[in-house]
Symmetry: C2
Subunit: 199 residues, 2 copies
């Protein structure tokens, strides 16, 4: 015997299927949504339907957008000679937050991961090669995460890009600004020494 009504059980199941949401949290969330005023609950449901219907990937950079081409790719104030390659749409947000980079992006939608059966064909790699071949690109910055898979992906791409005779760069490794040497791990500290710059 199930103790909750079927439609409530179903809603709990749906929440529990989300990443990082356990059964108890799913219950809590479902009860919360049930207790919302009618229109707010319907607005939640509508937000899912709407986002799913409206959001597509930009034809050029593969970032998420509602139009055919995203605001960054269609802006005339961005430097079109530089492409920053990231693995996920949220990484674009992180870099934009710095207000330092003014070029374009390319979102791979993942990283190479033999363990998870993600190969080159599962990423938006041919779209990147197409851009480099067709557009006036001078530099590609690899901004995948500094972990094993991000490294491997950056390495793989840099080899693919070699024939195009453009500059391929990688984000600098080093100690984070404002942190403490005491807390830096060995690998980071070694990279910071290797990559030291003249003052």
């Amino acid at each position: 015997m199930s103790f909750f009504p079927a439609s409530l059980e179903n809603l709990i199941d749906k929440f529990a299927s989300l990443p990082g949401i356990g059964r108890k949290s799913a219950q809590r969330l479902a009860f919360y949504v049930l207790a919302l005023p009618e229109e707010e609950a319907l607005a939640f449901a509508g937000a899912i339907t709407e986002a799913k219907r409206q959001v597509h990937t930009c034809r050029i950079c593969q970032n998420l957008t509602e139009g055919e081409i995203c605001p960054i790719c269609s802006s005339d104030r961005r430097d079109r000679s530089t492409i920053c390659v990231v693995s996920e749409p949220k990484d674009v947000l992180s870099i934009e937050r710095g207000h330092e980079y003014n070029g374009l992006y390319h979102v791979l939608h993942g990283v190479l991961s033999p363990m998870a059966h993600v190969g080159p064909d599962d990423l938006r790699i041919k779209e990147l090669l197409h851009r480099v071949a067709e557009d006036e690109v001078e530099e590609v910055i690899m901004a995948t995460n500094p972990d094993t898979e991000g490294e491997a992906t950056a390495m793989y791409l840099s080899r693919l890009l070699k024939p195009f005779n453009i500059k391929v760069t990688r984000l600098a490794y080093g100690i984070p600004v404002g942190s403490n040497l005491e807390f830096a791990d060995d690998a980071t500290l070694n990279r910071a020494i290797e990559g030291r710059t003249e003052m």
Copy 2:
């Protein structure tokens, strides 16, 4: 400038409005839902709408149900002379899981809390009094949580029920089964000693 499409921002906002979900988690969940196959995303939206439309409170015990009267209240195998009073629908689940209790329930939908401006009129108290007055109730078990507010609510109700001349009981306090005396807090241990039973 917002870096995500408006409908995606809206979905992130909706997830972030849920209790215990921060901005970063909300982003992660929204991306996850966007990456779902069309039909699964729509099923999620449908589950919210459906639960909101179908689920009501039982006319008798105020627990959540899809019909007018919940399966427990309409079962003829339950002992109708006992009512167990709990604060939330999920507490019914907890007690049912034990397969020990065979009476009916009454869900208050909250506890008295002057700090949160929850008074007697915000809980399903008059529905409980009505049941005690009209039905053949012999015992009411207070099963609100063993915290300050749960205690106060149980105390308040037990006073209200006095005139009806029925048995009003409270769940036993004591050391949890399978635990270790070493880890029991003082209040629990004192209650366990007070409530000791003959062997």
